[in-house]
């Protein structure tokens, strides 16, 4: 109610609305043709993604205009944990924004390939990779930026996609969080084929850190951590980023990456 009041107040003041036109203008020159591969999660209730209201687990990868994302065509039905992409990020995705920004000057941004991970068999994971790469090939993409929702198992679907694109001659950069363990010596990724030679890191998501006790706490007496644990916010919290919803995206957007400590 208070937000509605506030927004109505702004309207009343007669401030001119800011207009922004977002368009993929036709590009004349030989700028490299680039797609964004956007792999989401859609499996069971509370873990779903919707494209125009249809749950996408039975669909093939779709070619989507970036404006459809901005308009809210992709809606997140995944409701918890660090590895999910909320609807707000589907609508305002930093990768889409960056590629729109560079469209016409550095790249010819063709659009987005919306695909899905966590396929049930290796055969299906491989197919998903081939379907995504085929779409990119038909579009005559020279390059691809690939990102994914989730972790673990779905890395295989993702890497199959990266591999398939590279095999089509489509130069691919892939973004992943790392799971190096609290002590930093675990292998960063659960699957990493040689073709994935251009990786961007989102940081070590299993690294623990201290959150100092809070003076002011609103909204409840305890923090509900997943894994069925609870925490008293008046005490210091020592945990890794996986307790925060959407942490993978946030870590990436904050510019965190992992590297060998010197």
């Amino acid at each position: 109610m208070r937000v509605a009041h506030y927004l109505a107040g702004v309207q009343k003041s007669g401030v001119a609305a800011e207009r922004k036109t977002i368009r993929l203008d036709h590009v004349q020159s030989n700028l490299p043709r680039v797609v964004l591969i956007y792999q989401v999660q859609s499996q069971i209730p509370l873990v779903r993604t919707f494209y125009y209201g249809e749950e996408i687990s039975k669909t093939l990868p779709s070619f989507v205009h970036p404006n459809e994302f901005i308009d809210g065509a992709v809606v997140s039905g995944t409701y918890k944990s660090e590895r999910k992409i909320p609807t707000s990020l589907h609508c305002a995705n930093p990768f889409i924004e960056e590629m729109l920004k560079r469209h016409g000057s550095e790249i010819n941004f063709l659009g987005v390939i919306l695909s899905r991970g966590y396929n049930n068999s290796f055969e299906q994971k491989k197919k998903m990779g081939l379907w995504s790469a085929r779409l990119a090939r038909i579009l005559h993409a020279d390059g691809a930026v690939a990102m994914m929702e989730g972790t673990g198992n779905t890395t295989v679907d993702f890497m199959q996609t990266v591999k398939a694109c590279e095999e089509e001659g489509i130069k691919t950069v892939a973004i992943m969080h790392e799971d190096n363990g609290a002590r930093g010596y675990e292998r960063p990724l659960v699957d990493h084929p040689a073709e994935a030679d251009a990786m961007i890191s989102r940081g070590n998501r299993s690294e623990k850190f201290i959150i100092a006790p809070l003076d002011k706490v609103i909204g409840g007496e305890e923090i509900d951590l997943h894994l069925k644990a609870k925490h008293d916010p008046h005490k210091p919290l020592f945990f890794d980023p996986t307790i925060f919803f959407g942490a993978h995206c946030q870590m990436g957007a904050s510019g965190f990456r992992a590297a060998y400590e010197s």
Partner: protein
């Protein structure tokens, strides 16, 4: 006045040898053992020196309470520097040094140093920013090691970054670990920059190195199954109802064994699956579908194999750390091997 807190085990504190490995955690408001030499080398600094002691066995059997006690001491004493060991090649001591030093550094941001031989298992428990002076394998090098400790202590207390860098390169163990840093730009910007470089055919550096998985040798098949003792193992998180040993529901750090002696099947309501990586309702409805006691007993009766081991072993996969899982696997394998088990039915989820 600078406060220095030093962790020692029962032996180096002069309390006793292996017979005193159960020594409880205690606080001494003075230096002892190698701390005496270290205190002396630092006599130019205004130092208040205290020691915490714990038996090597006691630490590992009561890690949580020891760290809670250490937490109390650090909160009260407020050290400016924490020192553990040196432990040389002593495994239990090295682990305790690594864990206590890491704990103090992580919770209190107090500079922490220890000394380990490069093969000490404690090197796997060193937290970020903890400095590990490389030592020889035996306490024969105690004197020279303590001199190094003193040098490093002075550099840390004076916050001499340049000299610290030089000292680290020369005397500290380089343990290759990956931690989080702040890059110059968000991932979206770096991704497009890297793509442009790659498209131009120019040299770029991938941010995540490809680290090959260690090859897993496939064991030879059991020739004559009819003579074999088999056991069941799972990472599916099946535990007695109520999860008495508090197995984690993801990223397991421990394994447990539960008896199936005299059992012909596992009943719903007696067991539950602690696991967030799969739909556990089918297993909760019939635990045999994860640990197939019913099927195995039938095969045992039909003499398909000789004997079903009395215990099944369990941990929790899903998001689990590979190195930890390997450690647990080795532990389970050792127990099964000494129990005369020849083969394992492993149910993965």
């Amino acid at each position: 006045m600078t406060n220095v807190l030093h962790y020692l085990n029962q032996f180096f504190a002069g309390i006793g040898g292996e017979d005193k490995a159960g020594q409880e955690f205690l606080f001494l408001p003075k230096p002892t053992g190698p701390g005496v030499l270290l205190r002396d080398l630092l006599k130019d600094q205004q130092i208040e020196y205290a020691t915490v002691v714990c038996g090597d066995n006691y630490f590992h059997e009561h890690e949580e309470t020891v760290l809670a006690s250490l937490n109390e001491v650090v909160a009260q004493f407020q050290p400016d520097l924490f020192i553990a060991g040196p432990a040389f090649h002593a495994g239990r001591y090295g682990l305790a040094c690594a864990k206590s030093a890491s704990f103090v550094r992580e919770r209190f941001e107090v500079p922490a140093i220890t000394g380990l031989y490069e093969e000490n298992p404690g090197t796997r428990e060193i937290g970020r920013h903890v400095l590990v002076i490389q030592t020889g394998s035996s306490a024969a090098s105690m004197q020279s090691t303590i001199k190094r400790f003193a040098e490093l202590a002075v550099l840390l207390l004076n916050n001499n970054q340049e000299s610290l860098k030089v000292f680290k390169e020369e005397f500290c163990l380089r343990i290759p670990r990956r931690f989080t840093f702040q890059a110059a730009a968000p991932d979206s910007v770096r991704a497009l920059d890297m793509l442009m470089t790659k498209l131009r055919g120019e040299v770029f550096e991938s941010e995540i190195p490809r680290i090959a998985a260690a090859p897993h040798p496939v064991p030879a098949a059991i020739g004559d199954l009819s003579q074999a003792t088999l056991a069941m193992v799972t990472e599916g998180g099946l535990v007695p109802l109520g999860n008495p040993d508090r197995l984690e529901s993801s990223r397991g750090t421990k394994y447990f064994k539960y008896s199936i002696e005299e059992r012909d099947d596992l009943k719903p309501g007696e067991f539950e699956a602690m696991h967030t990586g799969y739909d556990t309702s089918t297993v909760n409805a019939d635990p045999d579908r994860l640990i197939p006691v019913d099927a195995m007993r039938r095969l045992e009766r039909e003499r398909n194999f000789a004997r079903l081991h009395n215990y099944y072993y369990v941990t929790t996969g899903t998001g689990a750390m590979p190195a930890k899982m390997q450690e647990l696997g080795v532990g389970i394998a050792e127990e099964l091997s000494t129990s005369g088990v020849n083969g394992v039915v492993l149910t993965a989820t």
